[in-house]
């Protein structure tokens, strides 16, 4: 057994080492700005901004091809952070979203078609064919993809209701 494990382990180590060296030698410089913007984004690769991934969107935003408020699931908070990072003015009037929302499934109309959980970028929907689907509040980013594909219109984005875990004191008004 050892005689088969050792060469294979050695081969794997060698190839891994070569790839590691290659990735150092062939490292592609990315601008720091793009990397920092990518860290601000939700990172679910939902594609709503029109870019295929959050990384591509961050590069486009760093290059000035996208406005700071490009990220729909990120909403106002992300838009402000990106605008601050790039030093750009932010047009707050164009943002309608002010509070976090969650997808909610109306169980009376859900037919268990599984379309919503197939498109969910964060795997926040559980369910099986012809079974009721349910949303995990912790994983949902309210990207709205499920709402688009739902054939019966049973998914809505609703504002997050306060629970004991999420409740906090209001900020003192000045």
């Amino acid at each position: 057994m050892l005689v088969s494990i050792l060469p294979l382990a050695g081969l794997g180590t060698l190839l891994g080492f070569l790839l590691g060296v290659a990735s150092r030698v062939l490292y592609v410089e990315r601008s720091n700005v793009a990397r920092e913007i990518e860290e601000l984004l939700p990172g679910t690769q939902c594609g709503q901004c029109g870019s295929p991934s959050c990384g591509a969107a961050a590069e486009a935003a760093a290059a000035g091809e996208l406005p700071p408020a490009f990220c729909p699931p990120g909403g106002r908070a992300v838009a402000e952070a990106v605008a601050g990072k790039l030093g750009l003015p932010l047009d707050l009037a164009s943002l309608v979203d002010e509070q976090p929302r969650l997808a909610e499934i109306n169980e009376d109309i859900c037919i268990g078609c599984t379309r919503c959980y197939k498109v969910c970028p964060t795997d926040a929907i559980a369910g099986a064919a012809k079974q009721m689907h349910v949303v995990f509040a912790d994983a949902c980013t309210a990207c709205g993809k499920c709402e688009e594909v739902c054939p019966t219109g049973c998914i809505r984005l609703v504002p997050v209701t306060e629970t004991l875990q999420s409740w906090a004191w209001n900020q003192p008004s000045l």
């Binding site: 005689v3 060469p7 294979l8 081969l11 070569l18 490292y27």
Partner: protein
């Protein structure tokens, strides 16, 4: 020299990897809707297939045969192919960002292209020498690219034709692939 030319023609046309050996059918159906994508996929596969054929020959003859580990062939070949694909991806990203943008998702998908593993295994089965393995890999890849581009051209024409409802989409594509395969059988007369 003429042996080598003959071998290239034989692998690219007579024993075409897609239409005669029926390897790599998934990209034939999957990435043949647009000409650009088909050409990019074909070129990336050509690079990977040639390198993988050479690397797997070295692996087989310098490691597996001396240690009598032939039963690890498929496992270790897949390891090498995955490495070559990864390396290709890094290389293209460094050398030509624009090509990297065009190929995008197709690059990593080459790992699961059965034509790549199939050619490496056929090299072993036929007992080719190094140069022959390299040519066999390159010839197969050229054949692969040729068929992918031909088929993409046909499908672009098909998209604007009035096809009976029953055959629309994939069914007519399968029929066309079958006809193309029949046409390629004609190359057997060259051999």
């Amino acid at each position: 020299m003429s042996d080598y030319v003959l071998m290239l023609v034989a692998t690219a046309l007579v024993n075409n990897v897609i239409l005669i050996k029926f390897l790599g059918l998934c990209p034939l159906m999957g990435v043949s809707t647009k000409m650009d994508g088909a050409l990019g996929m074909g070129l990336a596969t050509t690079f990977v297939l040639t390198l993988a054929a050479a690397a797997s020959w070295m692996l087989e003859n310098w490691l597996l045969v001396p240690l009598e580990l032939e039963y690890l062939r498929i496992l270790s070949f897949i390891l090498v192919i995955a490495t070559v694909v990864q390396f290709t991806e890094m290389l293209i990203r460094k050398m030509s960002p624009s090509l990297y943008q065009v190929l995008g998702i197709y690059l990593p998908l080459i790992t699961t292209n059965c034509a790549v593993l199939g050619v490496a295994l056929l090299n072993v089965q036929e007992g080719y020498r190094f140069i022959e393995s390299l040519l066999f890999g390159f010839g197969s890849a050229v054949g692969f690219t040729l068929v992918l581009v031909l088929f993409a051209g046909l499908r672009e024409r098909l998209a604007v034709l009035q096809v009976p409802e029953l055959y629309q989409g994939t069914p007519i594509a399968f029929i066309v692939a079958g006809l193309l395969s029949v046409a390629f059988m004609g190359f057997a007369g060259l051999a």
